[in-house]
């Protein structure tokens, strides 16, 4: 597609529920990133994929957070047993292949997650 596409745009869930957030990167982009943005803050790194391989998940806040990209294209960020502190905007970004030189990351519109 023309840009990074994320769905849903908004998600409201009750504390304790599981949620799944989807990211469809720019076609042909090898590198994919997830960030979490709290209100009034800059985005913070969560995890990174190169094709289907998850090479860094050091930014995931807890073991309730899980991300996958099984076919090296679409990625899903799953949060189990949601807590109120999980409320944030979750941004997905992609770049052609960061290993091939300096390239900007292009962001989707994000999913605004609210936990009640």
């Amino acid at each position: 597609g023309a840009g990074v596409s994320q769905s849903p745009r908004y998600k409201v869930a009750k504390r304790g529920q599981d949620v799944a957030l989807r990211c469809d990167p720019i076609s042909g982009h090898v590198s994919l990133f997830w960030y979490q943005q709290a209100l009034g803050q800059g985005p913070e790194f969560l995890t990174y994929f190169q094709n289907e391989a998850q090479l860094d998940k050091s930014g995931l806040p807890s073991d309730r957070f899980f991300a996958e990209r099984p076919e090296g294209s679409v990625s899903t960020l799953k949060i189990q047993r949601t807590q109120q502190e999980d409320s944030a905007v979750y941004l997905c970004a992609s770049s052609f292949n960061f290993r091939q030189g300096n390239q900007p990351q292009h962001f989707g519109d994000g999913t605004r997650l609210s936990i009640l």
Partner: protein, 113 residues
Amino acid sequence: EDKVVQSPLSLVVHEGDTVTLNCSYEVTNFRSLLWYKQEKKAPTFLFMLTSSGIEKKSGRLSSILDKKEPFSILNITATQTGDSAVYLCAVQNSGGSNYKLTFGKGTLLTVNP
């Protein structure tokens, strides 16, 4: 740990004014600095800077990097209401986690008619 500090945190100007946004950073083994514009949705890429002293320009926006200080500035001339947004600065290092962007908190720019 890499660190980015942006100033001011917020700024209100009138249409036609010129603004300068600041970004200072600490990074081990600098690779690049990026500027993004964020309205109510996706951060939109503006500039990537890798070398000191070379100005990048796009219309009324320009940016320059000083790796010695180290900092970067983003200039917007003849501001318009459509420039109202949060401007984010981010850095990448060239170490083991060189794919990761470390962001500042952003500068909220409001341009009044």
